[in-house]
Subunit: 289 residues, 6 copies
């Protein structure tokens, strides 16, 4: 269904009205772009993809500030759908985690058999939080309710309580907790994959610029290894929950920018591999990182 | 000797007059409680113990500010003894590391054959520092001199000098230095265990909010693995040396709060396991984390 | 060729006019000395060398502030040569990475068959940056052009672009990227080794006080393991690119100070081992860390 | 009506659910107490009142965290009323500014002819904000609607828009904007005065630890001069809107603590003057600061 | 000559390659816009102009990053000229102070008899700095050399050395140093005025987010008083030298945003007054602030 | 008695063992020198004295770290005496305030009729603090007990308690509290003056980098006005109590450096005026700032 060489479409989703604890993520897209364009690094990914040459289209930021939760959800879904329908691969910049539901929905409706790889300290499976079913604690409950997601695999989880455990069982979510995660963890999908990266999956040492400190998380290297190492085809991604109010020296924005670079590189590789068959990098190469 | 289902008793020990280098830990108990009660997380531990349901008793803070080192030591010992004698399991919040000696002494007198698991960058075995035998550099010399501690195992040490090496040999202390520590490190005790967690056992990347930066330490995940992974029965614990003056965004307080949560969870499990025999989690389960 | 018990000579090289992005490293030597002399730790290394007893000579800081790039290069080379010629082993404190070229040149001319172990996020192999062939992005291109370096091994690299890859191939540089680095990485040399430590080889979590954030780097423990674990004889070293403007609480200065301590310890051990033959620590001991 | 020597009653109101922009003030009472009890200063006010000797009663913190806006309002009003009815003078620690309405109401019902002196960057006269009539932008609209406040004088205002100007006219509020404020500003009341101090009346240079930066405000000295200089009898006060998330080094908490000290000193003086007639400090003395 | 109701044109000039000491101001326009659009305040100025209703046109940022000093100068001049020629009043956001020369030149060529009011800690009159005649230390030397500036009045200066004093005399610059500045300082022009605000005219207490700390400066209130108080007609303005690397909590960006608001308000008033003759605010009113 | 053109002698006194609350000032001399030599400013004072041309002698830092309070006192007194006896004017950099007593003593024994101008938030007149008569809270009690100080004038005081008030009366200290200080405050001496500047006389807004926050202090401009405005002849000075642990971005070090510059400028002017009679700046000029 998809064209073979899709252009990456970057889009900012500056919305945090669904955050239960602390605002800030609405300011994140500007900071991530600032990091991405910094002259302090170059645009070649760790696997050698030169994004400066490959390029991407920046669709700017949606104007979500004044919207209700419902309107914001609809506007995001429409925009993501538009980018995909015009042949783009989406790299979305949150905003809080509530932006992932409409993005996943738009992808799932266009990529049959979509898998979701969700990196997070929290399962975000609450049925509802403070009477808000669209809160940033619930996007994956909403996503699973669409019935369009083939598999949801969550990695890095370390805050499961009884309600969220029940929700995970109800929806058949596969969870790799931090207690279980290790050097031998393997993640593999058949078909298209959407990756949702909540920066708090990282230990606060690596990403202090988030609203919720949950110590005991992944290192930046481990996240990079997951990005390049999982089996499957990456068709869309988001990076969410950067909170500039907690990021005085821009270190977490740099982490976000790095992950965006590596995600765009992987999307480029996955598109290229499909187009050029076996001539590209060996499939196994990607899983050894 | 102990009742089978003990209630956890949290107590703050805001004392830092025995710190040789920098004040601050006297402000720590309030900050750790603030983290513990933060609405930014829930109270279920990584092993599924819901502390919100199990609960704990908060004994507040001892009023130690005006006391001499000797009086503070005696007041702490009396309070810890009182909590144990009334059927509680102690979760103590320092303060600097000098508070651990009276806490260990009170435990050792009540738990025959007490083992001590000590996580720290420093062995804290000085015979005396700046003529103060109760300084925060000496609590484990004092503890071993009581003759009541069966084994003292120190993990994470990375500042051994000749004097402290001699002291360790004299007292038969077992030391796992950071250079030796690895994924295959196993820690096992027979009988009751008191765990003393100096936050500077963590690398400053994970816990910058301490008075003494000693790079090359454990990650938060490694500490959590130790808490849930050692063999033995956890009967009491302290978390010490948080310095709020070095913790501008509260990240280290969040680490302290997380460790307090996991320690209280382990104490709850250990009490429950003893009471319900083989019906609970398998013993081995705890050692695989 | 070298005398068997060389005295370590510490020297500060406060120069950052060759930095492309942000000044700061010129202030670093004073901050590293401040950390080194802090009463918050002792001077015994992790392998038991008491630097307080062994001692070192502090040659102070070169006055480089007003110099052109060429003059600074010459002044550094002359000073380093002088320290070696008087029987000292050099422990240099940058400054930005441009100071390493004259230091390596002076060493290579005095230690035939010199190997260079270079820890860095960046290969620093640019032929020239912004028309400055002496910039902090080029020292290893210059060093290789001397023809005096036997092997250049780079560890921790994670920003290779096409130009730098071509340069690495041209000079026969051996690169261990972060993607390749692991617990089983072995580094071994025959003969003398100069170690150049750019603090940004560390993940920004461990060393935020640098000009260029490049997430996904080594931990402090991994760097210490490399310092004590590589096979070969350490004859000189530098620690560069600390940026005090990015180090508000001195955490990165503490990391720099720790690495300087361990490097001076290793140099002391390597000198002692040569002098006392097999009586010292077993060769293998050093490779097990 | 009031007893002549009232005891000061300190009470914490840790509520910020009515904040439109950023949470944090719920953490403030603990930080202000920490500053108040710091050994880095003494407890004698600038006018020589020794609060260490005079003392005050600390009523602790109300448990407001889980309450709705309406319940919190009622709980605050009940507690403030109880303190006054038992003969105390209230020194309340916010919390966001929404806590001032129930406090003023309780005072106005007990002190006939109550005047309110309100120091703030914002008039807080919104009829409603985001459909919340109890928000922290509206307490003075609510207070004026009770009909019990004789005069409301606002000092330091610098964000008047058309709606708030209309509200001020409707309620007869007297406003001294920052543009009008100067060394010759005189503030005088007949009868009892309640002083509500929003810390953002201070310029962010003096009090950065607030949710809303509004540059161009008062200095700490100017606020102290107002506290000691206005004519009238101070019977109750609050200090609100400290945001610890914006106060990494505790400087704003120290400002809050200082103002609390000076306010408690003034309340003590005003009570003492009434009791001992002309024997105390001359009335004019207070107005010359 | 000018149309009577000009629309304000905001434009970002993200250039700092001419900074001698520290980069950063190239990131400033994004941060000032972020502050300007913050929901933490409203858009009514202190003199009651509702900018939300009056509006302004945002021309975005010039893409100057890759340009040489000469090209950047020309691009800025062309853009500023274009905005004026299309009937706009310029509100420019630096960038370092080098951006002011082309902006002033474009204004001076279009507003005969242009006066310049320059608020700064430094006179910025160097003939050349480090061989760069377009450096951020020289814009006012360049501006005066055009012969098009009627009067240059500098306020807040506190770093005059012999060379700059000579330059000031040569160009007939009128300087009000900080030592001379006081409550009775009066600033008055005939005809059009361009105001250039270097944020370091403020004391670092009020604006720490600048590259050069020069203690002893103006308060935010004093700058606001100057903006609204000088006699003359404001036709264009810039706010420069915000350094986000020195602005961890965004306090200085808030100061910049506030000044931009008040400057746009004054420009609106000055345009409106001209259009509506005596019906507006009395001329004297503006000088009483 | 003194030679007419004395050379300024800068000396660092890095001692803080007499601090009751928090260490840090021992690190201050290095930071003040760093600020003084920063290329971000020039070396011409606000009154036009070019210190770059006039120069000063830097005597380095005394090695006080390991000394007892008594030994440190004696070493400081000896060094200060030596500088004066060799014809120098002392500019001393603390260290905590305990260093001022030996410095004042050495001056008073050499300048008959010495006056002391003391700028501070605290009177530092405690008879003893925590049994330490040499603590940083007592230097002016010790100084007055020598009987050699003609007048002690304290400016900026805002923490007088009963004990210190009694001490001030006993010693005849003249105190200008912050409540009394204003634009019309005049300070005048006959004969030689020693100025001791505790940075906490400044409001924490201007100088956050101190151990004791005491809001409501002087502005940097007001301190500069005092330095240049008092009547008398400045013969020696110290700047104390900078705490680098509280100065993450070096703003307070910049304030300290600025004050050191202006103090050295005033000392130079006072020496020059005496030497060249009426040819210099008019005496009155200095009092109008």
């Amino acid at each position: 269904m998809m064209a073979q060489s899709r252009k990456i479409g970057l889009v900012g989703l500056p919305y945090d009205a669904n955050s239960s604890f602390m605002p800030g993520p609405r300011l994140a897209p500007a900071r991530i772009r600032e990091a991405l364009h910094s002259t302090s690094w170059n645009l070649t990914t760790e696997r050698g993809v030169d994004l400066g040459a490959c390029g991407w289209t920046d669709h700017g930021d949606l104007r979500l500030e004044e919207m209700t939760a419902t309107d914001a959800r609809d506007a995001i879904e429409a925009k993501i759908a538009e980018i995909i329908d015009r042949g783009g691969s989406v790299m979305a910049l949150g905003g809080d985690h509530s932006v992932s539901f409409p993005s996943i929905k738009a992808h799932a409706e266009r990529y049959p058999g979509l898998n979701v790889l969700h990196l997070d300290a929290h399962p975000d499976l609450y049925h509802s939080l403070l009477d808000n079913p669209l809160s940033h604690a619930s996007p994956f409950a909403r996503a699973m309710e669409t019935g369009l997601v083939k598999r949801l695999v969550q990695v890095g989880i370390r805050t499961l309580n009884a309600h969220q455990t029940a929700q995970a069982e109800k929806f058949g979510v596969e969870i790799v907790t931090m207690a279980d995660f290790g050097a031998d963890t393997r993640i593999a999908f058949d078909g298209p994959v959407y990756l949702s990266l909540d920066l708090d999956v990282l230990d606060p040492a690596f990403a202090p610029g988030v609203s919720h400190f949950e110590p005991g998380g992944l290192s930046s290297r481990e996240v990079i290894r997951i990005i390049h190492g999982f089996k499957g085809k990456l068709v869309g991604a988001d990076v969410v929950e950067l909170n500039p109010y907690r990021d005085p020296i821009g270190m977490t924005a740099a982490v976000a920018g790095k992950m965006v670079k590596e995600l765009m590189g992987r999307m480029t590789e996955d598109g290229a591999l499909q187009a050029t068959a076996a001539a590209g990098l060996p499939e196994t190469g990607r899983n050894q990182a």
